[in-house]
Amino acid sequence: MEKDVILKVENISKQYRLGTLGTGTITHDVNRWWHLIRGKEDPYLKIGEINDRSTKGSSEYVWALKDISFEVKKGEILGIIGKNGAGKSTLLKILSKVTGPTTGAIKSKGRIASLLEVGTGFHPEMTGRENIFLNGAILGMTKKEIQSKLDEIISFSGCERYIDTPVKRYSSGMTVRLAFAVAAFLEPDILVVDEVLAVGDAEFQKKAIGKMQDISSTDGRTVLFVSHNMAAVKNLCSRGVVLGNGRTLFSGDIDSAVNFYLKNTKSVKKYKNNKTTKLNYIAEVFISDINGKSILNSLKKKKEYFLNFILDLNKVEGVKFGTTLISEMNEPIISFPFEEEFKKTSKYHLKIKLPTTILKGGSYFVEAALWNAGEVYDKSEEYISFDLLGDSKLEKSGEKIKGIVLNKEEWLTKNI
């Protein structure tokens, strides 16, 4: 029904200029202005390129978003998914009016509030109470609204004792709690939540996600949720929009959207060394399945995968090799030292099984190095990366698992 539509995004595009701003900028500005006064179109709008971060382009203008359109109905939780650089944050920025679109329009029937980051505008010299008012007002509440919710906000934050102390004396955790308490009592018609919000301790995350569910289920308000966490998206949202390189790739019910995303985002890349200046020691890195076929989409937990390295030792002797998986949060997860000695042959194909059973769902980077007694022949922290789909019940519910790896042993249960 047309009537229920609360937010309508029509052909939103956003262009960015790459590189640094300097003396060159003014010539473009003059040129643009010259076109404008002659009633012509902005010349730089035509030369924008698809925003693909990894390929080198010829134009310094890129489209961070290109012709994005969708509608959101009242009370719906819409998930916006896409890889890094797909345009999610830009879209959120435009929705929350932080920056304007280059072309297109967004029409809304309700107040939009965004939780791009909590605690914006906190002043360290002011007390907790003063900051509640200031922060609330920045987020769009009136003084009266804040006054009526003040007690609730303070008790939700759990900072009663410190409420009349300047915020600079707070621990960082207390600042976040206070900030989130203010945000939690916002009552917008449409709430825009970025995943960035979910950075923080487990308790905070749980509160944030719980609050979002409350907002839409009990109050019937609309939520736009942006995330990489497929499990959380699947759990929370009813519909999804998949963005890729600034374009809408898919829009529909959440299950199909997530499936589409997983199938179509090539989350595993093959690494092939094509440096010409250096000898290729680690020549190729890729992931293969049990049959040796190289894999380019997301990994599923139930299957077996292998990490492959093609090494070219270039006749150096006594070298050591090792590889480590690094998590998204940049923690080293598990190392695979190579303990055998390299023989005379200078080319090797090393293969090791990925311990998918103990890995949590998420993105991983593969670090590898070839060295000998302090001399590093070849090393990179990010030869390739891959996505692993989490399948435990806990992960699917969007809860955060604290451990770095998962247990693969079984519980022994007995009724007593």
Binding site: E2, T99, P101, T103, G104, S108, G110, H123, L134, G140
Partner: protein
């Protein structure tokens, strides 16, 4: 089918003079909270606290009196030199604070502007208002000295035109805010202006009649140097209405009024145009 009613639209372009006063009004509490923040936090954790509001103009006036009137022997007519300077410094300070306070609006607040939306003009407006409070305090101290000199038998008397003094303040606010908004908008892309402001304001002070009377410029055939400076007219005019001495011309008054309004409107125009996408270029 009935046409949908939208609460608001987000589009790339907005009307040039779309001040969106309704929205500013909705955010009036925020405006007052920012004012409160500025006033309260400025001198936190200082020993003298708000006394700094007074020390700065008093000492400036004392130094000016020593240099310009005692050493350089510049005559201030029948007015005690210290009062002459204090009147000039108090007025000039308000303009200066408005200008420098608003001229880095976008740069100073990019963290907060990058995260949440509220009418951006709230920020410079709050600066102008909190400076008004500061001005009020400084004006009170001026009044104290004023009364002292009156009882001491000096020939200072306010003019009938004293009633127009609020208008003088308005003019200064418009001028400072307007110029500040223009500069802050341009600074988002080209940082050069930041350097200009810091030393330009200093230079401007010398041709703004803060410590020199208009008659002195006239005597040296340098009137042209101040005639086109609206701030000079404002400072001279305010001294005229407060102390009863000064050179006020019809040209000066009209020129200043028109100039202030034009700068102010132009400032809003430029500011409005910038606020939508400055976050991409800053």
């Amino acid at each position: 089918m009935q046409k949908d009613k939208w609460l608001f639209e987000i589009t790339p372009k907005n009307n040039l003079l779309d001040l969106n006063l309704k929205e500013v009004w909705q955010y009036r509490d925020l405006l007052m909270l920012f004012v409160k923040r500025d006033v309260v936090t400025l001198y936190k954790q200082t020993i003298l606290g708000p006394l700094w509001y007074l020390i700065q103009p008093l000492f400036t006036s004392i130094v000016f009196t020593l240099i310009f009137n005692k050493i350089a022997n510049i005559s201030t007519g029948g007015i005690p030199p210290f009062l002459f300077n204090l009147a000039g410094v108090t007025s000039w300070n308000y303009f200066k604070e408005c200008l420098t306070g608003t001229s880095d609006t976008f740069k100073k607040n990019q963290a907060i502007f990058g995260k949440v939306y509220f009418p951006r003009i709230i920020m410079p407006m709050s600066t102008v208002i909190s400076n008004l409070i500061k001005f009020g305090i400084q004006f009170l101290i001026f009044l104290c000295f004023y009364l002292y000199y009156v009882f001491d038998g000096s020939e200072v008397r306010p003019n009938n035109l004293i009633l127009t003094y609020p208008l003088v303040l308005l003019c200064m606010a418009m001028l400072g805010l307007g110029a500040g908004m223009i500069i802050s908008s341009m600074v988002t892309k080209y940082r050069d202006l930041t350097f200009l402001v810091s030393f330009g304001v200093q230079l401007l002070m010398y041709v703004s009649l803060v410590s020199l009377p208009y008659s002195l410029f006239e005597k040296n055939n340098l009137a042209w140097a101040v005639d086109f400076n609206p701030v000079a007219h404002i400072v001279e005019y305010s001294r005229y209405v407060l102390l009863g001495e000064g050179t006020v011309s019809q040209f000066g008054v009209i020129y200043t009024l028109v100039f202030s309004v034009v700068i102010f409107l132009f400032g809003i125009l430029v500011f409005n145009k910038t606020e939508k996408s400055f976050i991409d270029t800053i």
